[in-house]
């Protein structure tokens, strides 16, 4: 009940609970510095869109948050766990962070339902029956209950991405990361994926979304981060960033994409 009181009822944000705290994050690929000192705090229930030109380090930043990329230096605290600490069991932390990839990455050797059931069953969070029930529920939510026994190769891109979202949700994560989830889709399929994401946002999921969909960022996000050259140049509400960008790089970028 207490949580409810501090929660902003319109945006679902709970400022009392910091889900992600990033401090002075640097990332090198060999000699190339991709992230040059990132600081960010993301609160429970917040939907944050990360925008910016390609090569600005948006995806690398996102991938550092579940340690698919190792931070070179800096600190990343997820739900109170310091994942840059070498002794931290990253697998346990990852169970709480769902990720959706640009290329969907559904397991090609499994049917749709097996894709969703695999992690909960393997990690012993659920029995097979429970996992199947939950998987069917999730498939219903993303509108694909009839595709349970299809293989990923038999689905369209948009359908595959919706299954990928269901697969991530099967672990009941607190945080969802989206790495350009609609960039590999044919234009007519973008909407169906964004709709699922909008619903998720409305339910209060903490979401970090790297995207080129400016319409989505404007409409759904609580906060927009604009990245260029490995740092966050500007951030604010969508109204601030899109309506009245103060940073020159942001103005330049928005002129090109809008």
């Amino acid at each position: 009940m207490k949580r409810r009181e501090v929660r902003d009822t319109v945006t679902n944000i709970n400022k009392e609970n910091k889900k992600v705290v990033v401090t002075n994050l640097h990332k090198y690929f060999d000699d190339n510095e991709v992230l040059t000192g990132i600081d960010a705090t993301i609160y429970e229930g917040e939907v944050v869109c990360v925008i910016g030109p390609s090569g600005s380090g948006k995806s690398t930043f996102l991938r550092c948050l579940n340690k698919l990329e190792d931070a070179t230096s800096g600190e990343i605290i997820i739900d109170g766990f310091d994942i840059t600490d070498k002794k931290m069991n990253i697998n346990k932390v990852r169970e709480n962070i769902g990720m959706v990839f640009q290329q969907f990455n559904l397991f090609q050797n499994m049917t749709v339902i097996k894709n969703i059931m695999m992690a909960p069953v393997t990690l012993k969070k659920m029995t097979k029956e429970e996992a199947r029930k939950k998987a069917m529920e999730l498939l219903g939510r993303v509108g694909l209950a009839d595709k349970a026994d299809s293989y990923p190769g038999e689905l369209s891109g948009g359908q595959q991405q919706r299954v990928a979202i269901a697969r991530a949700l099967a672990m009941s994560p607190d945080i969802m990361l989206f790495d350009e989830p609609t960039s590999a889709l044919d234009p007519e399929m973008v909407g169906e994926v964004l709709d699922v994401m909008k619903e998720l946002a409305a339910e209060g999921m903490t979401m970090i979304v790297v995207t080129h969909e400016m319409g989505f960022a404007r409409e759904v996000s609580d906060r927009v981060l604009f990245m260029a050259d490995g740092i966050i140049c500007e951030q604010g509400t969508p109204e601030e960033v899109f309506g009245n960008p103060r940073n020159e790089r942001t103005q330049d970028f928005l002129r090109k994409v809008l």
């Binding site: 579940n66 990839f101 293989y151 038999e154």
Partner: protein, 234 residues
């Protein structure tokens, strides 16, 4: 051309040899597949020592003829053990033959698996890791099942080579087809007909293997096509 005579006189012993060839092949391929898997995982591990062990093993096996390996394991190795550890040590031809063939197949299979694993897109293991699966579980549940599928043509090729390589084991006295045939022609001089029957026997086993594998490949191709057609419709 004495085919009638060979069938009458030598067929039972050649069939004995054929049966041994099949047994040795199956056992060696099975052991070789396990050795190969471990060597492949060692070669791909982050641990330098494991990587070095696998590297040296593959290097030695691929860099020396199997004939020499067979002689070494059947004659050389027992002598070394007799001189150093146990003077009563014995190794029969059957065991020595299986050791040789499995070690040999293992080295080549390790590389075949590695090729298969590298052919699995990186996103597959990233997706599994992002859900919280350990590296081992990711390998077991997601990467290996797909890697095996990619490797099937090369695996079958290696199985064929291993079956044919059993003939080399005749030099250490293993009573497989060629060894039996040599014994028979040694006393009868019926070379052509005997070796023709021997060749036909190999051709028979390998043809069966190829039929099975082309059936599996066709099935996999059909599944892939089915997937593609669906995608095109959308």
């Amino acid at each position: 051309m004495d085919f009638g005579r060979v069938f009458q006189e030598a067929l039972p012993m050649l069939l004995d040899g054929l049966w041994l060839t099949v047994r040795v092949s199956v056992i060696s391929i099975a052991i070789g597949m396990i050795i190969g898997l471990f060597m492949c995982l060692m070669k791909m591990s982050k641990n330098v020592v494991l990587r070095a062990i696998a590297g040296v093993y593959i290097w030695i096996i691929r860099g020396t003829p199997m004939l020499v390996q067979a002689l070494m394991i059947f004659f050389g190795l027992p002598q070394l053990i007799q001189l150093t550890i146990n003077p009563d040590f014995r190794l029969d031809a059957f065991t020595a033959g299986i050791i040789t063939l499995s070690l040999n197949a293992g080295a080549y299979l390790a590389e075949i698996y590695r090729g298969g694993i590298m052919a699995v897109p990186k996103g597959q293991s990233e997706a599994a890791r992002s859900l919280g699966l350990s590296q081992g579980m990711t390998m077991l549940k997601v990467v290996l099942p797909q890697a095996i599928k990619f490797s099937i043509p090369s695996l079958v090729n290696q199985f064929i080579i291993t079956i044919k390589d059993t003939s080399i084991l005749s030099v250490i006295g293993m009573a497989e087809i060629v060894n039996k045939a040599k014994t028979y022609v040694g006393s009868t001089y019926v070379y052509f007909a005997t070796y023709a029957v021997v060749a036909l026997m190999y051709l028979l086993i390998i043809s069966i293997l190829m039929l099975v594998s082309s059936y599996i490949e066709k099935k996999l191709k059909y599944e892939a096509k089915r997937g593609k057609r669906h995608r095109d419709e959308h």
